[in-house]
Subunit: 233 residues, 2 copies
């Protein structure tokens, strides 16, 4: 790496690239902040202008992404949207951050698996996103007696669904369509709570289904019966 | 605190009590491990026999609780139970740990709110429980195409529901019935996914319900109709 030439990255990017390279080559614990600034060709004080700690240097864009998510959720334009779908859309801002640079994301993923300090830092990053989503959902569900609990539970489910798909992609070295995978996982979460889409336009509207059940029938059997009729009818 | 006398606690308990007292009195950052062992009246090596770090000393029983949870989930006695209900019961082992010593739990809660290093440590403690629940649920849902995703999402929801109720109790200085609050929150999560209880014993068994719906009717409307019939029929 060199800091000279036409393609010279900004100082912050140079620090991130140097840190990642050294963590991979020498190990996280064996790398000092002095090593990073030396390789990046910047002064020690520059490091702390951008990053509060050695851990945070490989999670450089999450503060900005969290601010973006918070602004997105605060935008009145989303007030008409289903709250759960809005939270899922907000989570996709994190996906966009990871998918913008697959190579970097995959390298960082490998490091976080191997270095407990980075894993712990990542948990606090994820936790901040989850709190932002929960704060939003609690407000949207404020009229419900279960609003705060519902907000917390759905926020956790959104984050878990998003990260399930994202981690699958990272484990596969960034191969495959991560946008489709995350969308599918978030749809799964959304279907659990939101009211679901209306009937498809090309579906016959006057096709009638009749279900007969004893009143004691468990709900899951009723749903199973309905689903089977819809799928195979 | 003294280490002499009839009520002398085991060395490990003495270290925990000393650490909590010093973190409260001087602050976490201003307390060294040497300060803790001096107050506890034990040697420095004893500290590291029990705890890998200064953070872990105020989360002393979570390794044991995680082992208990893992054993509970591995017990074939639970195989006949609904997987989600079983995961909820497993989460209650954590509740039991917190409610066994409300005074200690409340003091630690205040510290974790104030000290980022302890907050981060707590996140990794919570994450380990969530992984244990997810690993269990993934196996129980292994036959489903969505089994791994479902396992991750439900594990996150169980943890969020449990912690929602637990944190409410800790914020209220340990006042109120935390068992009832956690049970209510976990019932909320369980109702979202599990098949629901069977019919009540006193329900007429041959009471028949007939539901007629257009085939295009969204599933949620069908379920709503069935639920309304069951509730008010």
């Amino acid at each position: 790496m060199t800091t000279a030439g036409a393609s010279k990255p900004p100082m912050r990017d140079a620090l991130v690239a140097a840190a990642l390279q050294l963590f991979e080559e020498r190990g996280f614990d064996q790398t000092t902040i002095d090593d990073i600034v030396a390789l990046a060709g910047v002064g020690r004080r520059s490091f702390f202008r951008y990053f509060p700690s050695k851990e945070s240097v490989v999670f450089p864009d999450h503060d900005g992404c969290l601010a973006e998510m918070t602004a997105f959720l605060a935008d009145p334009a989303g007030d008409a949207e289903d709250p759960v779908l809005r939270a899922c859309d907000a989570a996709k801002l994190v996906l966009r951050l990871y998918s913008a640079d697959p190579g970097f994301s995959v390298r960082r993923y490998r490091l976080t698996r191997a270095v407990p300090a980075l894993r712990q830092h990542e948990l606090s990053v994820v936790w901040r996103y989850e709190r932002a989503l929960a704060d939003y959902l609690r407000i949207r569900f404020a009229a419900r007696p279960d609003g705060r609990l519902r907000g917390d539970v759905i926020a956790a489910a959104v984050v878990a669904g998003h990260n399930h798909a994202l981690r699958g992609w990272l484990r596969a070295d960034g191969e495959g369509d991560v946008h489709a995978a995350v969308t599918e996982a978030l749809d799964y979460v959304a279907r659990t709570w939101e009211s679901g889409p209306g009937p498809a336009a090309d579906e016959p509207e006057d096709d009638v289904m009749v279900l007969v059940a004893r009143r004691g029938t468990p709900m899951w059997r009723v749903v199973q019966g309905v689903q089977t009729a819809l799928d195979h009818g």
